[in-house]
């Protein structure tokens, strides 16, 4: 449901996507198109399929696409592995970033960054060059260098984990970033740091999908479009004021749209 005429090709096209896990249908015909420079917000009750949509776009092996297509830069990526999707420029910021004890954050970030650079035919970075790059990116999320020597996300506070996600986004320079409840568990200051980081990283060539429950993230990052999901479908799409209306009226208000759908 795009109302504007677009000058460039879309980054991401989700076309009538249905998906299931353990034979249980989760997505029931989702369509969404993201053009360069656009910020989309997806809102909806818990369990409506928002996170599932993000995982399926990222290639989670537990879900089966039963119908529809996901196209990235015009190519169908339904059968691509998660790492291939990431290398080609799709980034998923996790709602609950995973802890990996024993794997140093610095090494993890370096291996990830080099996987993306290799895809872009850029020279892979050795430890010293990577240190320089990561130092610059740490500034974006105001993270201390000490976080790099710790294990990935282990012992990090909720806010630190989310900042580590944005640091990864900054290093990987994705074409599209899907940020799943990046604002959850953040205090006001941390939310501002994360939001400011996202704004610094995004540009006219990138697309962003923000999955959120709250207006407060959208106060910091104004979306071009807001989509409301319910029971595995997008039931309404509007501009940024739709989020305000939703905040005011609650999700019960959207039940009418379900009936219409």
């Amino acid at each position: 449901m795009q109302s504007k005429m677009k000058e460039s090709d879309p980054i991401l096209e989700v076309e009538n996507l249905s998906a299931s896990t353990n034979n249980l249908p989760i997505l029931k015909g989702v369509s969404l198109t993201v053009y360069p420079g656009e910020i989309h917000a997806i809102m909806g009750r818990n369990g409506c399929g928002k996170s599932t949509l993000s995982k399926i776009i990222a290639g989670h092996p537990s879900y089966n696409i039963t119908n529809g297509d996901i196209k990235f830069l015009g190519e169908n990526i339904n059968s691509l592995e998660p790492e291939e999707r990431s290398q080609s420029g799709i980034f998923l910021g996790f709602q609950y970033p995973i802890e990996i004890p024993g794997v140093s954050n610095l090494e993890f970030l370096r291996v990830s960054t080099n996987a993306r650079r290799k895809f872009l035919n850029k020279e892979e970075l050795d430890t010293f060059d990577f240190e320089e790059l990561v130092k610059e990116k740490l500034e974006i999320v105001k993270m201390d260098h000490a976080f790099l020597s710790r294990s990935v996300n282990q012992g990090f506070s909720g806010g630190e984990k989310k900042r580590n996600e944005i640091l990864q986004m900054a290093l990987l320079e994705p074409k599209i970033a899907i940020l799943d409840e990046t604002d959850s568990g953040l205090d006001i200051d941390a939310l501002r740091i994360v939001a400011s980081g996202i704004k610094k990283i995004s540009n006219a060539q990138t697309g962003i999908i923000l999955i959120t429950h709250y207006q407060r993230l959208l106060d910091e990052i104004k979306p071009n479009y807001v989509h409301v999901m319910s029971d595995g479908q997008i039931i309404k799409t509007g501009e940024s004021d739709l989020a305000l209306e939703l905040e005011e009226k609650g999700y019960e208000w959207t039940d009418n749209f379900i009936k219409e759908t």
Binding site: L92, I98, I100, P101, A115
Partner: protein, 405 residues
């Protein structure tokens, strides 16, 4: 062929030492460990029988060490290579035990042997000739790291014995490396006596080549206020048993154990531990990890014995296991035997597979499934490896070996 017949065939030499005669007699009276006993019931009988298929090698062939010394100060000894050592420095001394001292200590140990529990030691001592027994008395502090190698040459059976006395207030770092060449069997028995206030960081790294076997037995006696830290890693053996027996002779001592075994193909590697507290205020923290792939079999059985005299013992034993294949097998049984009433003891076991969500997370960062699995396994090893007193260079070698198919 019965195992005892194989031993007899191997022992054509009439010039047996007193220790060998005693051990051989004990074996003859009951030649095989009881396959129904808890300690042997899971042991692969055919692999155990194959253990003695090779003839005993008394004189070792030239042995190439797997890595060079990273520091000139490291003291390096190879059991069976006529190693003579007598170092008397300002802060420390390392001397060989005399034959009398060795015989006296080993005889005393043998008097406590039980057939099933010490079958590996009986086998070792009945086959280990004088040249393959190394006894050391270590005293002092600021001692350079010590490395001791045992190895079995291809197509042969080697029995090596190590006896170490750590004198009072002594503090040392010791790495034992057991290497099995292709088609070989290595029997390694180690006897460690830690006197009062002594402490050791002991690493045991054992790895083999194609179709190599290992019986590795470690007997430790800890006197009061001693600290024994053991980090161990066993991998690449067709058949291997690591038997650990630790006795805190008067309690008031600390024992930390972090061990790991990795099995692939149709290998079987097992770890048996018995920790006895014979006095109050003893401390134990133990974790054993197994990782089993393909059709292999990993076994852990641990027992903690806390008699009435061992009040205020604080002991923990955990067994963590990772199954990498549907055909691999893991058996684990941590157990407590507690008579004392004022103690803090816990034990537990987990068996799991690679964490799918961790793998997905890494893959969404562009890391391939193979590399993500390797990273996850490295992190699984890390807790154990970091406890083994090895330098980065040696770890690089191990890392390479661990990642080989």
């Amino acid at each position: 062929m019965e195992i005892i017949e194989k031993i007899k065939t191997n022992k054509s030499d009439d010039n047996l030492t007193e220790i060998q005669k005693i051990c051989l007699n004990k074996l003859q009276s009951s030649p095989l460990p009881n396959p129904k006993s808890e300690l042997w019931r899971l042991s692969n009988k055919s692999k155990l029988s194959n253990f003695l298929d090779y003839s005993v090698n008394k004189k070792d062939s030239k042995f190439d060490l797997p890595y060079s010394k990273n520091s000139q100060s490291t003291i390096r000894l190879i059991i069976g290579e006529n190693c003579q050592i007598k170092l008397i420095e300002k802060n420390y001394s390392i001397q060989q035990l005399s034959e009398d001292e060795l015989q006296k200590y080993i005889m005393e140990q043998i008097s406590f042997f039980k057939q099933n529990e010490n079958w590996s030691d009986l086998l070792n001592l009945s086959l280990s000739c004088k040249d393959n027994i190394l006894g050391l008395k270590i005293n002092g502090s600021k001692i350079p790291p010590i490395e001791i190698f045992s190895h079995a040459s291809s197509n042969s059976f080697n029995a090596k014995t190590l006896v170490i006395f750590l004198e009072k207030n002594c503090d040392v770092e010791l790495l034992q490396v057991n290497l099995g060449k292709e088609n070989s069997s290595l029997s390694q028995s180690t006897f460690f006596c830690l006197k009062e206030n002594s402490s050791v960081n002991h690493g045991v790294v054992s790895y083999g080549e194609n179709r190599s076997n290992l019986l590795n037995s470690l007997n430790v006696i800890q006197q009061k206020n001693s600290a024994y830290n053991l980090g161990s890693l066993h991998f690449k053996f067709n058949y291997a048993r690591f038997e650990i027996s630790i006795k805190q002779s008067a309690g008031n001592a600390k024992t930390n154990i972090k061990g790991m075994q990795i099995t692939k193909k149709d290998e079987q590697i097992s770890t048996y531990t018995k920790i006895e507290f014979n006095g109050p205020n003893g401390f134990l923290d133990q974790i054993n990890k197994s990782l089993a792939d393909d059709k292999s079999h990993a076994i852990f059985e641990g027992s903690i014995i806390v008699p009435k005299i061992a009040q205020r013992t604080d002991a923990s034993q955990l067994s963590r296991n990772l199954l990498l294949s549907n055909l691999a097998q893991i058996d684990t049984k941590p157990q407590l035997e507690i008579i004392a009433d004022d103690v803090k003891c816990k034990h537990g076991a987990t068996i799991s597979q690679l964490n799918e969500e961790e793998l997905f997370y890494m893959r969404t960062r562009g890391i391939t499934l193979t590399d993500a699995s390797k990273l996850q396994l490295s992190s699984y090893f890390q807790e154990i490896i970091s406890f083994i007193p090895i330098s980065k260079e040696k770890w690089d070698l191990l890392d390479k070996l661990l990642n080989e198919n």
